[in-house]
């Protein structure tokens, strides 16, 4: 039983980061209509910024995280201003390929500088364990869960309560009508990418902290957030969160089950699990759990 709780907490921790990555994707998609495959690149960007600031400059970890978050938001806004802004009105496929290209660039830069070795992020968690109610869990998992929950709450409050959050929702529904109320589409786009950057950076830091370590492979982890997006429905923030958590738990439980009972499936079978879930799910509900039909078809 306690092992199951351990596994579920680990799965929720991983899943909450999938959820964040998916959330960033959904925010950009709803606000700008762009399917942003570079989201995983922003995750890498945040993690390597943090690594560089911590290890090259020797900044305290919290400060390094803060600056990495701001830096990644800046990179995201620059991508929007310099590249994506020119792609408005261009064919969807061309826009997708551009974001794919950006992903590859964002992967290659840190690989060229730091190589493919697993690096220690320099976080305070290390291998530390914490006991809750007799169950031993990784400290980094608890922190990850906490950060994930805090970010989700902040994103929710921003969109539900704030003036700009409301403006972004209105703009997603009818951009011209929002413009007629004085909402600048350019600011909405920039804000959406900045939010995606902030979320991605935090996910990047948490996903490479503690026992996990940092390498360019991180973008593969980010890629596994895609099934979460499909599962939840591409235009649904709630779907992104639920889909992310579901996939995280499924992946961790599968890893443990396969290792114990079905080793013949291979060591990395759990990495396929998100895609299996996605495929099975798409057959039943093509527009995701919470998605809008038109989006699923579009």
């Amino acid at each position: 039983m306690s092992e199951l709780i351990q596994l579920v907490i680990g799965g929720l921790s991983l899943g909450s980061m999938y959820a964040l990555i998916a959330l960033g994707f959904v925010v950009v998609y709803k606000s700008t209509g762009v399917l942003n495959f570079a989201q995983g690149g922003l995750v890498l960007c945040g993690a390597y910024f943090c690594y560089a600031l911590r290890n090259a400059l020797g900044l305290p970890f919290a400060l390094a995280v803060l600056l990495a978050v701001l830096g990644t938001a800046l990179v995201a806004v620059l991508i929007e201003r310099v590249v994506m802004r020119r792609m408005i009105g261009k064919p969807v496929f061309a826009v997708i390929m551009i974001t794919w290209g950006l992903l590859i660039i964002l992967e290659q830069v840190p690989a060229a500088v730091w190589g493919y070795d697993l690096l220690a992020l320099g976080d305070p968690w290390g291998m530390g364990m914490a006991g809750i109610g007799g169950v031993q869990v990784l400290e980094v998992d608890l922190w990850t869960l906490g950060v994930g929950a805090a970010v989700m709450l902040a994103v929710y409050l921003f969109f539900a309560r704030s003036r700009w959050g409301l403006a972004m929702r209105a703009s997603a529904l009818d951009q011209e009508a929002a413009m007629a109320q004085g909402v600048s589409p350019g600011l909405v786009f920039a804000l959406a990418w900045a939010i995606a950057g902030v979320i991605a950076a935090l996910a990047g830091v948490m996903l490479s902290g503690g026992v996990r370590g940092l390498s360019p492979e991180l973008s593969l982890i980010a890629l596994r957030a895609f099934p979460a997006i499909i599962l939840g429905g591409m235009d649904s923030p709630v779907g992104a969160v639920v889909g992310g958590l579901a996939i995280g738990v499924a992946e961790v439980l599968t890893a443990s089950y396969v290792a114990q009972h079905a080793p013949f499936l291979g060591q990395n079978f759990h990495l396929v699990m998100p895609y299996l879930l996605m495929t099975a799910f798409l057959l039943v509900r093509p527009y995701g759990m919470f998605g809008t039909k038109a989006v699923g078809r579009g």
Partner: protein
């Protein structure tokens, strides 16, 4: 200033507008909106009525269009090239053709969007109270998605949303479009009330009867040019207008009158 007449709030001087660099939609429009009163802009489909409003409210850019010649002065200053936010803040609000309310947002949120550029909390709340007083149905269904409202109620919301900006100039694009005569009559009263409150109104309509019965002055647009202009009552008696616009409206007029009688 020793001007014989007070300065108009809005002046369009020889305005030409193009879409996509080549489609000429306005071919030199000159018109005035006085600081107080209702001006009607009439014309057939595609005459350029909406384009006139877009060139005033800054929405042309969204349609890849621009003012390619001429001058637009509001309150004495050139407003060409100002962004939507700056224009709304200066007091220009537009009710777009087809209402364009945010259907998935609540009525409250729609109204809050109308006040997007305002940062004066207490004053905004006072405006909200005024709007809700003028449109009781909006208060009744304050927390419901705006998409649940009927067409006429949505038009009221669209007008209420624009009033949340506390405009000095209200641009209305075919507010009677697709609405039953009785609702059209209500909207006519709403517009009269707004104008009486000191807001200048520029009313775009195909319902010439409704517009000319409200307007102090009217312009008839044809293929991007002003074909005719004059005081509302004079235009209403103009034989060409009677034939082109009011001929088809005649039947509606009777309908409005009869449904008006049935009202409690």
């Amino acid at each position: 200033m020793a001007a014989p007449h007070p300065q108009p709030l809005l002046v369009l001087d020889d305005v030409e507008a193009v879409y996509g660099g080549s489609i000429l939609a306005l071919r030199g429009i000159s018109l005035n909106v006085p600081a107080n009163g209702i001006v009607a802009l009439l014309g057939a489909n595609g005459a350029g009525k909406t384009t006139v409003l877009r060139s005033i409210s800054g929405l042309l850019s969204w349609h890849r269009g621009r003012v390619s010649r001429g001058r637009i002065a509001y309150d004495g200053a050139d407003i060409a090239g100002l962004g939507g936010a700056a224009l709304v803040r200066r007091g220009i609000a537009q009710v777009m053709e087809g209402r364009r309310i945010f259907g998935e947002l609540t009525i409250e949120e729609n109204l809050r969007m109308g006040a997007f550029t305002r940062r004066d909390g207490a004053e905004t709340r006072r405006t909200l109270d005024q709007v809700l007083e003028q449109f009781p149905i909006l208060r009744e269904r304050f927390a419901q998605p705006a998409g649940y409202l009927s067409g006429g109620q949505q038009q009221m919301l669209a007008i209420g949303r624009a009033m949340m900006a506390r405009p000095r100039l209200l641009l209305l694009d075919e507010p009677s479009l697709g609405l039953a005569p009785i609702i059209v009559k209500q909207i006519r009263e709403v517009i009269r009330h707004i104008a009486a409150g000191g807001v200048s109104v520029m009313l775009v309509e195909q319902n010439a009867d409704m517009a000319l019965s409200l307007a102090d002055y009217g312009y008839i647009l044809e293929s991007g040019r002003i074909a005719l202009e004059g005081p509302g009552p004079v235009l209403k008696e103009n034989p060409m207008i009677r034939e082109l616009y009011l001929g088809i409206v005649g039947a509606q007029e009777a309908e409005i009158a009869s449904s008006g009688e049935g009202r409690r």
